[in-house]
């Protein structure tokens, strides 16, 4: 009975939403408010004001840089939350009973992953570094790097996979993303008087490029370590 009630409720909600969607400005046309207002400004002034051809990266890092600062803080909050919930538990059953340790991956998987690892690494680094020229950027590269570390953890035995993330300085690296972003922001504040300010003039373009790449590296490495650590924590390893 409960199920029938929820279904009718959801159908009603769907109908209301469909009616709303019908009245929205037509999909795909160039005259809709989003396309003519802020979006058009970004497309028109993006490259020459922010120095990066990839307008999406210029929006993420430059126009709406504060959003992305908040964004990397969300990842770090997630990591802190996972650590707070999973480590230091009171109950005695400490042995990690998840499936990761029991099923040893077949030799074919182990071999292919070990062969592909360097290529994935190179491609990930490329995506991180060229975020402002070609599609990609800190987040995308960071996720690839994280996935690589997770794949290697699955494949390698505990002793060697622990070395993938440097134990001593892990507490700093995992928060490098927001730190780097804020550092560049403060640099902008000190040098040009406004927080997160990227100079617009032509001759200062190299400095802007360096700032963008630094932020990309920060997000990439930070993101990768966060994803890998969340995975290891869930597997019951520090």
């Amino acid at each position: 009975m409960k199920r029938a009630f929820t279904i009718t409720l959801l159908i009603a909600l769907a109908l209301v939403l469909l009616n709303v969607m019908a009245d929205l400005p037509p999909h795909g046309s160039a005259e809709t408010p989003p396309y003519t207002h802020v979006g058009a400004y970004y497309l028109e002034h993006g490259p020459e004001e922010t120095g990066s051809e990839n307008v999406v990266t210029s929006v993420i890092l430059n126009y709406r840089g504060f959003d992305t600062t908040g964004e990397v803080t969300v990842i770090v909050t997630a990591l802190m939350a996972v650590i707070a919930v999973l480590t230091g538990t009171r109950d005695t059953s400490q042995e990690p009973d998840t499936a990761v340790t029991q099923i040893a991956p077949s030799v074919v998987v182990r071999f292919i992953v070990r062969v592909l690892a360097p290529f994935i690494l190179v491609f990930a680094v490329y995506v991180i570094l060229n975020g402002h020229i070609t599609p990609g950027g800190g987040f995308q590269g960071g996720t690839m790097l994280g996935a690589l570390i997770i794949a290697l953890t699955l494949v390698l035995d505990e002793r060697r996979s622990a070395k993938l993330i440097p134990q001593r300085s892990v507490r700093v690296i995992q928060v490098i993303a927001p730190l780097m972003f804020v550092a560049i922001g403060l640099f902008g504040l000190i040098a040009w008087g406004d927080y997160l300010f990227f100079p617009r003039s032509e001759e200062l373009r190299p400095i802007v490029e360096i700032m963008l790449v630094l932020i990309e590296i920060g997000i990439g490495v930070g993101g990768a370590v966060v994803f890998a650590r969340i995975f290891r924590l869930m597997a019951g390893r520090p």
């Binding site: 019908a22 929205l24 795909g28 396309y35 307008v55 020229i133 869930m234």
Partner: protein
């Protein structure tokens, strides 16, 4: 109304996906299935917002050589990049909570947990 809806088909699809996700969240008993439904809802909303920026035969907003005039609006894509990472974070926390619940109560079925309480 129908022909306007036909034109905005992408938005309609995201609405349907949203309702499926909500159905899963409400009726599914297993905690993991519950927030899988949540992920479906999140994807639906992200799809809707990205679809807002699409332009007829528009090109990706990369200003390199060979890119033609009507570019896709970059702003929704930037927003959704953030949205996806938020979804991942919520899922990570939800998964670790489920692991803790499993270790403490031995079950992740919502009704059994309610009796155990």
């Amino acid at each position: 109304m129908i022909e306007a809806l036909w034109n905005n088909l992408d938005y309609a699809a995201s609405v349907i996906l949203f309702c499926i996700g909500l159905y899963a969240v409400i009726t599914r008993n297993n905690l993991i299935k519950k927030f899988m439904g949540l992920n479906i809802m999140e994807t639906a909303v992200f799809a809707f917002i990205v679809a807002l920026g699409v332009v007829e035969n528009g090109d990706a907003p990369i200003m390199g050589d060979g890119a033609s005039a009507p570019f896709i609006n970059p702003l929704p894509q930037a927003l959704i990049l953030t949205g996806i990472v938020v979804a991942v974070s919520t899922t990570a926390l939800a998964l670790s909570l489920v692991i803790r619940i499993w270790r403490q109560c031995g079950t992740i079925e919502a009704d059994e947990l309610r009796e155990a309480e």
